[in-house]
């Protein structure tokens, strides 16, 4: 079976992992337009070549990033998200909007 190296747990069978989608910057849902949000939610780069993507080691629920080639299926590198997220990300709750009635 194909082996992936989990940054936390070491080499594991690929069946222990869950694919989590492309790594892409999220627009601010409070300020972006509906079409920007739709593009973020639905559209994909679907790159032919090396991609950066989210993966999870399922038994330990640990999320990390991987760089993988989408033609050869070579996993080039896996790393902890701390490499990219050096500061804490705050999610402020939007003010509840009154629904016009």
């Amino acid at each position: 079976m194909k082996v992936m190296i989990c940054p936390l747990n070491g080499p594991r069978n690929i069946s222990e992992f869950t694919y989590g989608g492309e790594f892409k910057p999220m627009p601010n849902p409070d300020t972006c337009s509906d079409s920007e949000w739709a593009a973020y939610v639905f559209n994909s780069e679907d790159t032919l070549g090396v991609v950066r993507e989210w993966w999870m080691h399922t038994p330990s629920s640990y999320w990390f990033l991987a760089e993988r080639h989408t033609v050869t299926d070579d996993i080039i590198r896996t790393f902890d998200p701390r490499e990219l997220f050096s500061t804490r990300v705050e999610f402020t709750a939007a003010q509840p909007q009154e629904i016009a009635g």
């Binding site: 079976m1 194909k2 069978n13 690929i14 069946s15 869950t18 694919y19 509906d34 079409s35 739709a38 593009a39 639905f42 559209n43 994909s44 679907d46 032919l48 991609v51 989408t70 033609v71 050869t72 299926d73």
Partner: protein, 413 residues
């Protein structure tokens, strides 16, 4: 006939029936350029040339005719989808398939055997009821059946596979199969007869777009000017859309399938179970075809993996235990262009005169005739989208108007 036999028996020359004319140079310009020589592209060319009087068409295929997903699918024809948009569209396709051999004067080996989908949970039973009602409403033949009826239809099926006993079935009488290569060849032959040029080993490398309008395509055999372009490239849809500068919601996954040695006929209907991620059918030659869901992560590669094949076969053997000793003859994978709502992307694009026929994921073969017909109407009318395919436009992903077919599609061909 006997006179012909005598005449050519005595002559050294014999009239060879040529299906496809020998390849020639590309013309500098065509009215319509179709990228992709699979079932969809060839069908579009055929309907344009036969019913719309447009014959100055080039079909450009980077490899050989019908060598992509047209040859890699498991040849299931059905219309028991969930949404009214989907059911209407696929039902029309089933109807067209029924008359296709006559239309081509060429046998596509259409075989209406019915398709049986198994429910292992109450939630699936509920979804089946809805699908049966939607189907009946649009004239399809679909009904719910119980365990006893399933046993009578498929005596060899194990109704109590491991942890998932079968509760009920969705019996789709219109379900059928056909020879997929023959569909592509039939369209190719009839289109070529009407002057359509089919160029194999001709890869479109670049698209020339001027002022937001497609004007030419650059290939490995030179540049061709064109009035309009239809993109029908299946697994490479997202990459071709990128060449046109169009953002897409497509993600590309492999789908693996395999086929056993031939057996005596034992399985008439096409049987599928989405809970077991498996569908099984016996071909006219007696081979048993297994197909499953897409791979768990995106890839542009038709490699096979042992773990996926193993789990697919484990499920297949739960359904048909006596197949445990069967030998596999072939195994392969196709590259599927999956959309988030499991419906195709058809119609206009942000580039003028550039028409999309993409996002066919795992449901492309069954729609070949209706897709060709509606795409031909779209092209012939200069961009007036036929009602049948209006719901499948690319813009639905920016207006939140998806056509959700996930439940009726995933691993349940």
């Amino acid at each position: 006939m006997p006179f012909n036999l005598l005449k050519y028996g005595l002559s050294s020359e014999y009239p060879v029936d040529v299906d496809l004319p020998a390849p020639k140079e590309l013309k500098p310009a065509y009215d319509v350029v179709i990228i992709g020589g699979g079932g969809h592209g060839l069908a579009t060319a055929y309907y344009l040339s036969r019913y719309h009087g447009i014959n100055n068409i080039a079909v450009l295929e980077k490899s050989y005719l019908g060598g992509g997903n047209t040859a890699r699918n498991t040849a299931v024809i059905r219309s028991n989808y969930l949404t009214s948009e989907g059911v209407k569209f696929y039902a029309e396709s089933v109807k067209m398939f029924q008359g296709l051999s006559n239309e081509f004067d060429f046998n596509i080996m259409y075989s209406e055997r019915g398709q049986l989908t198994l429910a292992h949970t109450d939630a699936t039973v509920r979804a089946f009821r809805q699908r049966a009602e939607v189907n009946k409403h649009f004239g399809g033949r679909t009904e719910m059946i119980d365990r006893q009826q399933i046993r009578e239809l498929v005596p060899t099926l194990n109704l109590d596979p491991g942890h998932l006993p079968v509760l009920a079935g969705l019996w789709h009488l219109d379900g059928a199969t056909a020879r997929h290569d023959a569909v592509a060849w039939g369209y190719a032959k009839q289109a070529a007869k009407r002057g359509v040029e089919i160029h194999q080993l001709t890869e479109v490398q670049e698209l020339v777009i001027e002022n937001g309008t497609i004007s030419a395509v650059k290939t490995n055999r030179g540049t061709v000017r064109c009035g309009c372009v239809v993109q029908a490239v299946a697994g490479m849809s997202s990459q071709m859309m990128k060449k046109a500068g169009i953002r897409s919601p497509i993600q590309t996954f492999p789908l693996q399938a395999m086929v056993t040695q031939p057996f005596k006929p034992f399985l008439d209907p096409l049987v599928s179970s989405s809970a077991l991620h498996c569908y099984v059918q016996q071909t006219g030659r007696g081979e048993v075809v297994f197909g499953g869901g897409s791979d768990p992560y995106p890839l542009f590669n038709t490699r096979s993996t042992l773990d996926l094949k193993e789990s697919l076969l484990a499920h297949a053997i739960e359904m048909f235990p006596f197949l445990a000793n069967a030998k596999l003859m072939r195994q392969w994978a196709g590259i599927t262009d999956m959309t988030p709502d499991y419906s195709p992307i058809m119609g206009l694009s942000p580039v003028k005169n550039y028409y999309l026929d993409a996002g066919w994921g795992t449901w492309g073969f069954k729609s070949t005739p209706i897709c060709g017909k509606t795409m031909a109407e779209l092209v012939a009318s200069g961009g007036k989208v036929p009602d049948l395919i209006k719901p499948f436009g690319l813009e639905r992903f920016s207006t939140f108007a998806q056509v959700n077919e996930m439940g009726a599609t995933a691993a349940s061909h």
